[in-house]
Protein backbone atom coordinates (compact mmCIF):
# COMPACT_ATOMS: atom_id res chain seq x y z
CA UNK A 1 0.00 0.00 0.00
CA UNK A 2 2.79 2.36 0.94
CA UNK A 3 4.48 1.99 -2.44
CA UNK A 4 1.35 2.70 -4.44
CA UNK A 5 0.53 6.11 -2.97
CA UNK A 6 1.89 7.99 -5.99
CA UNK A 7 -0.72 6.21 -8.08
CA UNK A 8 -3.70 8.16 -6.73
CA UNK A 9 -2.45 11.70 -7.53
CA UNK A 10 -1.09 10.46 -10.86
CA UNK A 11 -4.41 8.97 -11.93
CA UNK A 12 -6.24 12.04 -10.71
CA UNK A 13 -3.99 14.42 -12.64
CA UNK A 14 -4.35 12.20 -15.69
CA UNK A 15 -8.11 12.52 -15.35
CA UNK A 16 -7.75 16.31 -15.06
CA UNK A 17 -5.59 16.52 -18.16
CA UNK A 18 -7.73 14.38 -20.48
CA UNK A 19 -10.46 16.94 -21.31
CA UNK A 20 -7.80 19.65 -21.63
CA UNK A 21 -5.80 17.41 -23.95
CA UNK A 22 -8.89 16.82 -26.05
CA UNK A 23 -9.50 20.55 -26.33
CA UNK A 24 -5.88 21.22 -27.37
CA UNK A 25 -5.98 18.30 -29.78
CA UNK A 26 -9.14 19.62 -31.38
CA UNK A 27 -7.80 23.15 -31.66
CA UNK A 28 -5.10 21.94 -34.09
CA UNK A 29 -7.52 20.04 -36.31
CA UNK A 30 -9.48 21.19 -39.32
CA UNK A 31 -13.26 21.15 -39.07
CA UNK A 32 -13.34 18.35 -41.61
CA UNK A 33 -11.10 16.15 -39.55
CA UNK A 34 -13.08 16.81 -36.37
CA UNK A 35 -16.38 15.88 -37.95
CA UNK A 36 -15.13 13.31 -40.43
CA UNK A 37 -12.84 11.06 -38.44
CA UNK A 38 -11.93 10.18 -34.88
CA UNK A 39 -8.23 10.69 -34.27
CA UNK A 40 -6.21 10.92 -31.09
CA UNK A 41 -3.68 13.20 -32.77
CA UNK A 42 -4.32 15.79 -35.47
CA UNK A 43 -3.51 14.21 -38.86
CA UNK A 44 -3.74 17.51 -40.61
CA UNK A 45 -1.90 19.63 -38.10
CA UNK A 46 -3.06 23.23 -38.60
CA UNK A 47 -2.62 26.61 -36.95
CA UNK A 48 -5.51 27.98 -38.94
CA UNK A 49 -7.91 28.14 -36.00
CA UNK A 50 -5.46 30.24 -34.02
CA UNK A 51 -4.76 32.41 -37.04
CA UNK A 52 -8.46 33.20 -37.35
CA UNK A 53 -8.58 34.33 -33.74
CA UNK A 54 -5.48 36.49 -34.02
CA UNK A 55 -6.60 38.16 -37.24
CA UNK A 56 -10.36 38.55 -36.77
CA UNK A 57 -11.09 41.65 -34.76
CA UNK A 58 -14.29 40.33 -33.16
CA UNK A 59 -12.20 37.48 -31.70
CA UNK A 60 -9.10 39.20 -30.44
CA UNK A 61 -11.07 42.17 -29.18
CA UNK A 62 -12.88 39.65 -26.96
CA UNK A 63 -9.59 38.94 -25.25
CA UNK A 64 -8.83 42.58 -24.96
CA UNK A 65 -12.27 43.25 -23.43
CA UNK A 66 -11.91 40.45 -20.90
CA UNK A 67 -8.43 41.56 -19.91
CA UNK A 68 -9.52 45.16 -19.60
CA UNK A 69 -12.49 44.66 -17.30
CA UNK A 70 -10.68 42.01 -15.27
CA UNK A 71 -7.73 44.36 -14.67
CA UNK A 72 -10.03 47.26 -13.82
CA UNK A 73 -11.91 45.08 -11.39
CA UNK A 74 -8.72 43.82 -9.75
CA UNK A 75 -7.41 47.34 -9.22
CA UNK A 76 -10.72 48.64 -7.85
CA UNK A 77 -11.26 45.64 -5.58
CA UNK A 78 -7.80 45.63 -4.04
CA UNK A 79 -7.62 49.40 -3.65
CA UNK A 80 -10.98 49.58 -1.90
CA UNK A 81 -10.39 46.47 0.18
CA UNK A 82 -6.99 47.50 1.60
CA UNK A 83 -8.17 50.19 4.06
CA UNK A 84 -11.30 48.22 4.92
CA UNK A 85 -9.33 45.06 5.68
CA UNK A 86 -6.98 47.12 7.83
CA UNK A 87 -9.93 48.51 9.79
CA UNK A 88 -11.38 45.03 10.32
CA UNK A 89 -8.08 43.54 11.40
CA UNK A 90 -7.06 46.33 13.79
CA UNK A 91 -10.15 47.98 15.24
CA UNK A 92 -13.47 47.22 16.83
CA UNK A 93 -16.14 49.60 15.66
CA UNK A 94 -19.86 49.94 15.69
CA UNK A 95 -21.42 47.18 13.58
CA UNK A 96 -18.12 45.68 12.45
CA UNK A 97 -19.25 42.06 12.69
CA UNK A 98 -22.53 42.70 10.91
CA UNK A 99 -20.69 44.48 8.19
CA UNK A 100 -18.19 41.68 7.80
CA UNK A 101 -21.04 39.19 7.56
CA UNK A 102 -22.95 41.34 5.09
CA UNK A 103 -19.86 41.39 2.86
CA UNK A 104 -19.68 37.62 2.99
CA UNK A 105 -23.32 37.23 1.94
CA UNK A 106 -22.46 39.03 -1.28
CA UNK A 107 -19.66 36.59 -2.03
CA UNK A 108 -22.16 33.77 -1.56
CA UNK A 109 -25.10 35.29 -3.43
CA UNK A 110 -26.04 33.47 -6.64
CA UNK A 111 -25.28 35.71 -9.67
CA UNK A 112 -28.47 34.39 -11.31
CA UNK A 113 -30.46 36.31 -8.69
CA UNK A 114 -28.80 39.53 -9.81
CA UNK A 115 -28.70 38.97 -13.57
CA UNK A 116 -31.91 40.79 -14.46
CA UNK A 117 -31.75 43.69 -11.97
CA UNK A 118 -28.12 44.29 -12.94
CA UNK A 119 -29.07 44.50 -16.57
CA UNK A 120 -31.80 47.04 -15.84
CA UNK A 121 -29.76 48.98 -13.32
CA UNK A 122 -26.70 49.39 -15.50
CA UNK A 123 -28.88 50.22 -18.51
CA UNK A 124 -30.64 52.88 -16.45
CA UNK A 125 -27.40 54.60 -15.46
CA UNK A 126 -26.12 54.39 -19.04
CA UNK A 127 -23.26 52.00 -18.40
CA UNK A 128 -24.59 49.01 -20.33
CA UNK A 129 -21.99 47.42 -22.62
CA UNK A 130 -19.03 49.24 -21.08
CA UNK A 131 -16.00 47.67 -19.46
CA UNK A 132 -16.48 49.60 -16.27
CA UNK A 133 -19.97 48.11 -15.86
CA UNK A 134 -18.60 44.57 -15.76
CA UNK A 135 -15.69 45.66 -13.56
CA UNK A 136 -18.12 47.26 -11.09
CA UNK A 137 -20.56 44.35 -11.21
CA UNK A 138 -17.78 41.90 -10.38
CA UNK A 139 -16.99 43.99 -7.31
CA UNK A 140 -20.11 42.40 -5.86
CA UNK A 141 -18.22 39.19 -5.07
CA UNK A 142 -14.59 40.30 -5.49
CA UNK A 143 -14.55 43.08 -2.89
CA UNK A 144 -15.87 40.80 -0.13
CA UNK A 145 -13.35 38.19 -1.20
CA UNK A 146 -10.51 40.73 -1.19
CA UNK A 147 -11.50 42.09 2.22
CA UNK A 148 -11.66 38.62 3.73
CA UNK A 149 -8.34 37.43 2.28
CA UNK A 150 -6.50 40.65 3.15
CA UNK A 151 -7.94 40.65 6.65
CA UNK A 152 -6.56 37.13 7.06
CA UNK A 153 -3.10 38.23 6.01
CA UNK A 154 -3.17 41.47 8.02
CA UNK A 155 -4.24 39.72 11.20
CA UNK A 156 -1.04 37.69 10.89
CA UNK A 157 1.01 40.89 11.24
CA UNK A 158 1.64 41.67 14.92
CA UNK A 159 0.15 44.91 16.12
CA UNK A 160 3.51 45.86 17.62
CA UNK A 161 4.60 46.81 14.12
CA UNK A 162 2.00 49.60 14.04
CA UNK A 163 2.80 50.76 17.54
CA UNK A 164 6.55 50.85 16.98
CA UNK A 165 6.09 52.91 13.84
CA UNK A 166 3.95 55.47 15.69
CA UNK A 167 6.51 55.68 18.48
CA UNK A 168 9.14 56.32 15.82
CA UNK A 169 7.08 59.31 14.70
CA UNK A 170 5.49 57.92 11.54
CA UNK A 171 2.17 59.44 10.54
CA UNK A 172 -0.57 57.00 9.65
CA UNK A 173 -0.38 57.40 5.84
CA UNK A 174 3.38 57.18 5.91
CA UNK A 175 3.25 54.06 8.07
CA UNK A 176 0.54 52.49 5.93
CA UNK A 177 2.29 52.98 2.58
CA UNK A 178 5.95 52.77 3.62
CA UNK A 179 5.85 50.00 6.21
CA UNK A 180 2.57 48.16 6.32
CA UNK A 181 1.89 47.55 2.62
CA UNK A 182 5.42 46.24 1.90
CA UNK A 183 5.01 43.88 4.86
CA UNK A 184 1.91 42.26 3.42
CA UNK A 185 2.87 42.45 -0.23
CA UNK A 186 2.56 38.70 -0.74
CA UNK A 187 -0.96 38.95 0.67
CA UNK A 188 -1.76 41.72 -1.79
CA UNK A 189 -0.37 39.62 -4.62
CA UNK A 190 -2.52 36.65 -3.65
CA UNK A 191 -5.60 38.83 -3.29
CA UNK A 192 -5.02 40.40 -6.69
CA UNK A 193 -4.63 36.94 -8.16
CA UNK A 194 -7.95 35.79 -6.70
CA UNK A 195 -9.79 38.89 -7.88
CA UNK A 196 -8.30 38.38 -11.30
CA UNK A 197 -9.29 34.75 -11.30
CA UNK A 198 -12.91 35.12 -10.20
CA UNK A 199 -13.49 38.01 -12.55
CA UNK A 200 -11.91 35.95 -15.34
CA UNK A 201 -14.02 32.83 -14.82
CA UNK A 202 -17.37 34.52 -14.13
CA UNK A 203 -19.50 34.97 -17.21
CA UNK A 204 -23.17 35.08 -16.33
CA UNK A 205 -22.98 38.74 -15.32
CA UNK A 206 -20.29 39.65 -17.82
CA UNK A 207 -22.40 38.27 -20.64
CA UNK A 208 -25.58 39.95 -19.47
CA UNK A 209 -24.00 43.37 -19.12
CA UNK A 210 -22.38 43.49 -22.53
CA UNK A 211 -23.51 43.35 -26.15
CA UNK A 212 -20.77 44.33 -28.60
CA UNK A 213 -18.23 46.82 -27.34
CA UNK A 214 -17.24 45.08 -24.12
CA UNK A 215 -18.12 41.48 -24.92
CA UNK A 216 -15.79 39.04 -23.15
CA UNK A 217 -13.92 36.39 -25.12
CA UNK A 218 -15.67 33.45 -23.54
CA UNK A 219 -19.03 34.93 -24.53
CA UNK A 220 -17.81 35.35 -28.10
CA UNK A 221 -17.25 31.61 -28.04
CA UNK A 222 -20.94 30.85 -27.72
CA UNK A 223 -21.48 32.71 -30.98
CA UNK A 224 -19.50 30.19 -33.04
CA UNK A 225 -21.73 27.40 -31.85
CA UNK A 226 -24.86 29.13 -33.11
CA UNK A 227 -24.31 31.45 -36.07
CA UNK A 228 -21.21 30.31 -37.90
CA UNK A 229 -22.35 26.72 -38.05
CA UNK A 230 -20.46 24.48 -35.71
CA UNK A 231 -16.86 25.54 -35.90
CA UNK A 232 -15.49 23.30 -33.23
CA UNK A 233 -11.84 23.81 -34.06
CA UNK A 234 -12.21 27.54 -33.62
CA UNK A 235 -14.15 27.07 -30.41
CA UNK A 236 -11.44 24.75 -29.09
CA UNK A 237 -8.65 27.17 -30.01
CA UNK A 238 -10.44 30.04 -28.27
CA UNK A 239 -10.94 27.80 -25.23
CA UNK A 240 -7.25 26.88 -25.11
CA UNK A 241 -6.32 30.56 -25.22
CA UNK A 242 -8.54 31.31 -22.21
CA UNK A 243 -6.72 28.66 -20.17
CA UNK A 244 -3.28 30.16 -20.78
CA UNK A 245 -3.43 33.31 -18.59
CA UNK A 246 -4.46 31.24 -15.57
CA UNK A 247 -1.84 28.60 -16.26
CA UNK A 248 0.89 31.25 -16.34
CA UNK A 249 0.15 32.96 -13.04
CA UNK A 250 -0.82 29.85 -11.10
CA UNK A 251 2.81 28.86 -10.55
CA UNK A 252 3.47 31.97 -8.46
CA UNK A 253 0.59 31.47 -6.08
CA UNK A 254 0.58 27.67 -5.86
CA UNK A 255 1.25 27.66 -2.11
CA UNK A 256 -1.46 30.20 -1.37
CA UNK A 257 -4.32 28.80 -3.40
CA UNK A 258 -5.86 26.96 -0.45
CA UNK A 259 -5.58 30.08 1.69
CA UNK A 260 -7.27 32.20 -0.94
CA UNK A 261 -10.17 29.83 -1.41
CA UNK A 262 -10.67 29.62 2.34
CA UNK A 263 -10.89 33.45 2.29
CA UNK A 264 -7.57 33.86 4.03
CA UNK A 265 -8.52 31.53 6.87
CA UNK A 266 -6.27 28.48 6.70
Amino acid sequence: MKRATWLVPTLYILFLMLPIYWLVNMSFKTTNEILGSFTLFPNDFTFENYMVIFTDQSWYMGYFNSMLYVSMNTVISVAAALPAAYAFSRYRFLGDKHLFFWLLTNRMAPPAVFALPFFQFYSAVGLFDTHIAVALAHCLFNIPLAVWILEGFMSGVPKELDETAYVDGYSFPKFFFKIFLPTIKSGIGVTAFFCFMFSWVELLLAKNLTAVDAKPIAATMTRTASTAGYELGLLAAAGVLTIIPGAIVIYFVRNYIAKGFALGRV
Binding site: W6, L7, P9, Y12, I13, L18, P19, I20, W22, L23, I34, A81, A87, R90, Y91, R92, L94, D96, L99, F101, L104, T105, M108, A109, P110, A112, V113, F114, A115, P117, F118, Q120, F121, L136, C139, L140, I143, V157, P158, K159, M197, V201, E202, A218, A219, T222, A225, L232, G239, T242, P245, G246, I250, R254, I257, A258, K259, F261, R265, V266
Partner: protein
Amino acid sequence: MATKSDNNRAWLFVIPVIVLVAFNAVVPLMTVVNYSVQETFGDNVFFWHGLGWFEDVLRSERAHAALARQLMFTFTILIIEIPLGVVIALTMPRKGVWVSVCLVLMALPLLIPWNVVGAMWNIFALPDIGLLGRLINSMGIDYNFTQQPLAAWFTMILMDVWHWTSLVALLAYAGLISIPDAYYQAAKIDGAKGWAVFRYIQLPKMKRVLTIAVLLRFMDSFMIYTEPSVLTGGGPGNSTTLLSIDLVKIALGQFDLGPAAAMSLIYFLITLLFSWIFYTVMTKDEGQ
Protein backbone atom coordinates in the same frame (compact mmCIF):
# COMPACT_ATOMS: atom_id res chain seq x y z
CA MET B 1 -4.22 37.37 16.90
CA ALA B 2 -3.58 40.91 17.96
CA THR B 3 -6.08 42.47 20.32
CA LYS B 4 -8.20 45.12 18.71
CA SER B 5 -8.86 48.57 20.02
CA ASP B 6 -12.18 50.41 19.85
CA ASN B 7 -12.20 53.07 17.22
CA ASN B 8 -15.33 54.20 15.46
CA ARG B 9 -13.36 56.30 13.03
CA ALA B 10 -12.40 53.01 11.39
CA TRP B 11 -15.71 53.47 9.58
CA LEU B 12 -13.94 55.95 7.31
CA PHE B 13 -11.75 53.09 6.05
CA VAL B 14 -14.74 50.98 5.25
CA ILE B 15 -16.73 53.57 3.33
CA PRO B 16 -15.29 52.85 -0.16
CA VAL B 17 -16.10 49.18 0.20
CA ILE B 18 -19.60 49.87 1.46
CA VAL B 19 -20.33 52.30 -1.37
CA LEU B 20 -19.08 49.94 -4.07
CA VAL B 21 -20.80 46.84 -2.74
CA ALA B 22 -24.02 48.64 -1.84
CA PHE B 23 -24.15 50.09 -5.35
CA ASN B 24 -24.14 46.51 -6.61
CA ALA B 25 -26.01 44.69 -3.91
CA VAL B 26 -28.60 46.97 -2.38
CA VAL B 27 -30.03 48.68 -5.46
CA PRO B 28 -30.52 45.47 -7.49
CA LEU B 29 -31.79 43.62 -4.44
CA MET B 30 -34.38 46.31 -3.82
CA THR B 31 -35.40 46.03 -7.48
CA VAL B 32 -35.95 42.33 -6.92
CA VAL B 33 -37.99 42.99 -3.77
CA ASN B 34 -40.01 45.53 -5.73
CA TYR B 35 -40.84 43.11 -8.51
CA SER B 36 -41.63 40.30 -6.13
CA VAL B 37 -44.70 42.06 -4.73
CA GLN B 38 -46.04 43.52 -7.97
CA GLU B 39 -47.85 42.39 -11.08
CA THR B 40 -47.26 43.95 -14.48
CA PHE B 41 -49.00 43.85 -17.83
CA GLY B 42 -46.13 45.57 -19.60
CA ASP B 43 -45.62 49.26 -20.40
CA ASN B 44 -44.04 49.76 -17.01
CA VAL B 45 -47.45 49.70 -15.28
CA PHE B 46 -47.26 47.85 -12.03
CA PHE B 47 -49.93 46.69 -9.57
CA TRP B 48 -49.55 45.63 -5.99
CA HIS B 49 -49.66 41.87 -5.80
CA GLY B 50 -48.85 41.26 -2.14
CA LEU B 51 -47.27 37.94 -1.34
CA GLY B 52 -49.02 36.17 -4.20
CA TRP B 53 -45.87 35.35 -6.13
CA PHE B 54 -44.25 33.87 -3.07
CA GLU B 55 -47.26 31.61 -2.53
CA ASP B 56 -47.16 30.61 -6.19
CA VAL B 57 -43.46 29.80 -6.08
CA LEU B 58 -43.72 27.87 -2.84
CA ARG B 59 -46.60 25.84 -4.28
CA SER B 60 -45.27 25.50 -7.82
CA GLU B 61 -44.24 22.00 -8.80
CA ARG B 62 -41.73 23.40 -11.23
CA ALA B 63 -39.85 25.23 -8.46
CA HIS B 64 -40.03 22.16 -6.23
CA ALA B 65 -38.59 20.00 -8.98
CA ALA B 66 -35.77 22.46 -9.62
CA LEU B 67 -34.98 22.62 -5.91
CA ALA B 68 -35.06 18.82 -5.65
CA ARG B 69 -32.65 18.51 -8.60
CA GLN B 70 -30.45 21.18 -7.07
CA LEU B 71 -30.24 19.38 -3.71
CA MET B 72 -29.68 16.06 -5.44
CA PHE B 73 -26.82 17.57 -7.46
CA THR B 74 -25.25 19.33 -4.48
CA PHE B 75 -25.31 16.27 -2.23
CA THR B 76 -24.05 13.94 -4.93
CA ILE B 77 -21.01 16.08 -5.68
CA LEU B 78 -20.31 16.56 -1.95
CA ILE B 79 -20.39 12.80 -1.35
CA ILE B 80 -17.94 12.25 -4.19
CA GLU B 81 -15.67 15.29 -3.95
CA ILE B 82 -15.01 15.45 -0.21
CA PRO B 83 -13.71 11.87 0.32
CA LEU B 84 -11.91 11.92 -3.03
CA GLY B 85 -10.24 15.23 -2.18
CA VAL B 86 -9.11 13.90 1.19
CA VAL B 87 -7.67 10.74 -0.35
CA ILE B 88 -5.77 12.79 -2.94
CA ALA B 89 -4.44 15.14 -0.27
CA LEU B 90 -3.28 12.18 1.83
CA THR B 91 -1.45 10.57 -1.07
CA MET B 92 0.13 13.75 -2.43
CA PRO B 93 3.89 14.09 -2.00
CA ARG B 94 4.97 16.28 0.92
CA LYS B 95 8.43 17.28 -0.26
CA GLY B 96 10.40 17.80 -3.40
CA VAL B 97 9.76 19.07 -6.87
CA TRP B 98 6.62 16.95 -7.32
CA VAL B 99 4.75 19.07 -4.79
CA SER B 100 4.81 22.07 -7.12
CA VAL B 101 3.95 19.94 -10.13
CA CYS B 102 0.93 18.48 -8.32
CA LEU B 103 -0.26 21.85 -6.99
CA VAL B 104 -0.01 23.61 -10.34
CA LEU B 105 -1.63 20.85 -12.40
CA MET B 106 -4.38 20.32 -9.87
CA ALA B 107 -5.21 24.01 -9.67
CA LEU B 108 -5.47 24.33 -13.45
CA PRO B 109 -9.21 23.47 -13.75
CA LEU B 110 -10.03 26.10 -11.15
CA LEU B 111 -8.79 28.87 -13.44
CA ILE B 112 -10.66 27.99 -16.58
CA PRO B 113 -13.62 30.28 -17.36
CA TRP B 114 -16.79 28.47 -16.43
CA ASN B 115 -18.37 28.37 -19.84
CA VAL B 116 -15.13 27.07 -21.32
CA VAL B 117 -15.40 24.26 -18.77
CA GLY B 118 -18.90 23.56 -20.06
CA ALA B 119 -17.86 23.76 -23.71
CA MET B 120 -14.78 21.62 -23.09
CA TRP B 121 -16.83 18.89 -21.44
CA ASN B 122 -19.41 19.15 -24.15
CA ILE B 123 -16.91 18.28 -26.89
CA PHE B 124 -15.12 15.82 -24.59
CA ALA B 125 -18.30 13.84 -23.92
CA LEU B 126 -20.08 14.01 -27.29
CA PRO B 127 -20.71 10.43 -28.39
CA ASP B 128 -19.48 10.92 -31.97
CA ILE B 129 -16.46 13.23 -31.68
CA GLY B 130 -15.64 13.26 -27.96
CA LEU B 131 -12.97 11.08 -26.35
CA LEU B 132 -15.13 10.20 -23.35
CA GLY B 133 -18.27 9.58 -25.39
CA ARG B 134 -16.39 7.33 -27.80
CA LEU B 135 -14.74 5.45 -24.97
CA ILE B 136 -17.97 4.71 -23.13
CA ASN B 137 -19.78 3.71 -26.30
CA SER B 138 -16.91 1.46 -27.34
CA MET B 139 -17.35 -0.42 -24.08
CA GLY B 140 -20.77 -1.38 -25.31
CA ILE B 141 -22.72 1.12 -23.22
CA ASP B 142 -25.18 3.28 -25.10
CA TYR B 143 -24.25 6.78 -23.98
CA ASN B 144 -25.48 10.10 -25.33
CA PHE B 145 -25.79 12.90 -22.83
CA THR B 146 -27.79 15.10 -25.18
CA GLN B 147 -30.63 12.58 -25.22
CA GLN B 148 -30.51 10.47 -22.07
CA PRO B 149 -31.27 12.18 -18.74
CA LEU B 150 -29.16 9.66 -16.83
CA ALA B 151 -26.16 10.18 -19.09
CA ALA B 152 -26.62 13.95 -18.79
CA TRP B 153 -26.54 13.70 -15.01
CA PHE B 154 -23.50 11.45 -15.12
CA THR B 155 -21.66 13.92 -17.36
CA MET B 156 -22.68 16.93 -15.29
CA ILE B 157 -21.49 15.33 -12.05
CA LEU B 158 -18.26 14.08 -13.62
CA MET B 159 -17.64 17.60 -14.89
CA ASP B 160 -18.13 19.10 -11.45
CA VAL B 161 -15.87 16.47 -9.88
CA TRP B 162 -13.27 17.33 -12.49
CA HIS B 163 -13.68 21.05 -11.90
CA TRP B 164 -13.78 21.30 -8.12
CA THR B 165 -12.28 18.22 -6.42
CA SER B 166 -8.93 20.01 -6.53
CA LEU B 167 -10.33 22.70 -4.26
CA VAL B 168 -11.10 20.11 -1.58
CA ALA B 169 -7.74 18.43 -2.14
CA LEU B 170 -5.80 21.72 -1.87
CA LEU B 171 -7.62 22.74 1.30
CA ALA B 172 -7.15 19.32 2.91
CA TYR B 173 -3.49 19.37 1.86
CA ALA B 174 -3.02 22.78 3.49
CA GLY B 175 -4.48 21.30 6.69
CA LEU B 176 -2.25 18.22 6.49
CA ILE B 177 1.07 19.99 6.02
CA SER B 178 0.31 22.15 9.07
CA ILE B 179 0.61 19.06 11.31
CA PRO B 180 3.99 19.15 13.07
CA ASP B 181 6.25 16.12 12.60
CA ALA B 182 6.26 15.59 16.37
CA TYR B 183 2.66 14.36 16.16
CA TYR B 184 3.64 11.58 13.77
CA GLN B 185 6.66 10.64 15.88
CA ALA B 186 4.47 10.42 18.97
CA ALA B 187 2.04 8.23 17.04
CA LYS B 188 4.89 5.99 15.93
CA ILE B 189 6.07 5.55 19.51
CA ASP B 190 2.53 4.63 20.53
CA GLY B 191 2.51 2.08 17.73
CA ALA B 192 -0.35 3.73 15.84
CA LYS B 193 -0.76 2.56 12.24
CA GLY B 194 -2.43 3.87 9.08
CA TRP B 195 -6.05 4.16 10.04
CA ALA B 196 -5.39 5.22 13.65
CA VAL B 197 -3.04 7.98 12.51
CA PHE B 198 -5.68 9.19 10.08
CA ARG B 199 -8.56 8.97 12.55
CA TYR B 200 -6.86 10.51 15.60
CA ILE B 201 -4.23 12.85 14.18
CA GLN B 202 -4.91 13.83 10.57
CA LEU B 203 -8.69 14.00 10.60
CA PRO B 204 -8.99 16.21 13.73
CA LYS B 205 -6.35 18.53 12.27
CA MET B 206 -8.22 18.71 8.98
CA LYS B 207 -11.59 19.29 10.61
CA ARG B 208 -11.56 23.05 10.15
CA VAL B 209 -10.37 23.10 6.54
CA LEU B 210 -12.78 20.32 5.67
CA THR B 211 -15.68 22.24 7.18
CA ILE B 212 -14.67 25.19 5.02
CA ALA B 213 -14.40 22.89 1.99
CA VAL B 214 -17.87 21.40 2.59
CA LEU B 215 -19.48 24.81 3.05
CA LEU B 216 -17.73 26.34 0.04
CA ARG B 217 -18.61 23.42 -2.18
CA PHE B 218 -22.17 23.49 -0.89
CA MET B 219 -22.64 27.18 -1.60
CA ASP B 220 -20.83 27.25 -4.93
CA SER B 221 -22.61 24.18 -6.24
CA PHE B 222 -25.89 25.61 -5.00
CA MET B 223 -25.49 28.65 -7.24
CA ILE B 224 -23.91 26.85 -10.19
CA TYR B 225 -25.21 28.11 -13.51
CA THR B 226 -22.76 28.51 -16.35
CA GLU B 227 -21.17 25.06 -16.59
CA PRO B 228 -24.33 22.92 -16.73
CA SER B 229 -26.13 25.49 -18.84
CA VAL B 230 -23.39 25.33 -21.49
CA LEU B 231 -23.03 21.55 -21.18
CA THR B 232 -26.65 20.48 -21.37
CA GLY B 233 -28.69 23.71 -21.39
CA GLY B 234 -30.82 22.14 -18.66
CA GLY B 235 -31.86 19.29 -20.92
CA PRO B 236 -32.71 16.80 -22.18
CA GLY B 237 -36.16 18.11 -21.32
CA ASN B 238 -35.82 19.66 -17.90
CA SER B 239 -33.81 16.82 -16.43
CA THR B 240 -30.73 18.89 -15.55
CA THR B 241 -32.45 22.24 -14.94
CA LEU B 242 -30.97 23.32 -11.62
CA LEU B 243 -32.23 26.27 -9.57
CA SER B 244 -30.16 28.99 -11.23
CA ILE B 245 -30.90 27.69 -14.72
CA ASP B 246 -34.62 27.64 -13.98
CA LEU B 247 -34.43 31.13 -12.53
CA VAL B 248 -32.66 32.54 -15.59
CA LYS B 249 -35.18 30.77 -17.84
CA ILE B 250 -38.07 32.42 -15.98
CA ALA B 251 -36.47 35.86 -15.61
CA LEU B 252 -34.65 36.39 -18.92
CA GLY B 253 -36.34 33.78 -21.07
CA GLN B 254 -39.99 34.31 -20.22
CA PHE B 255 -39.58 37.72 -18.60
CA ASP B 256 -41.95 36.71 -15.78
CA LEU B 257 -40.55 39.31 -13.42
CA GLY B 258 -42.80 38.70 -10.41
CA PRO B 259 -42.34 34.94 -10.05
CA ALA B 260 -38.64 35.22 -10.92
CA ALA B 261 -38.15 37.89 -8.26
CA ALA B 262 -40.02 35.90 -5.61
CA MET B 263 -37.97 32.84 -6.46
CA SER B 264 -34.78 34.92 -6.33
CA LEU B 265 -35.59 36.10 -2.83
CA ILE B 266 -36.34 32.63 -1.55
CA TYR B 267 -33.13 31.43 -3.19
CA PHE B 268 -31.25 34.33 -1.62
CA LEU B 269 -32.65 33.58 1.85
CA ILE B 270 -31.43 29.98 1.60
CA THR B 271 -27.91 31.18 0.73
CA LEU B 272 -28.12 33.74 3.52
CA LEU B 273 -28.76 30.96 6.02
CA PHE B 274 -25.74 29.02 4.80
CA SER B 275 -23.60 32.16 4.73
CA TRP B 276 -24.40 32.60 8.40
CA ILE B 277 -23.29 29.04 9.16
CA PHE B 278 -20.13 29.64 7.12
CA TYR B 279 -19.46 32.90 8.97
CA THR B 280 -19.92 31.27 12.36
CA VAL B 281 -17.51 28.48 11.50
CA MET B 282 -14.94 30.85 10.00
CA THR B 283 -14.83 33.25 12.90
CA LYS B 284 -15.40 30.77 15.72
CA ASP B 285 -11.86 30.23 16.91
CA GLU B 286 -10.59 33.70 16.17
CA GLY B 287 -11.85 35.04 19.49
CA GLN B 288 -13.14 38.60 19.57
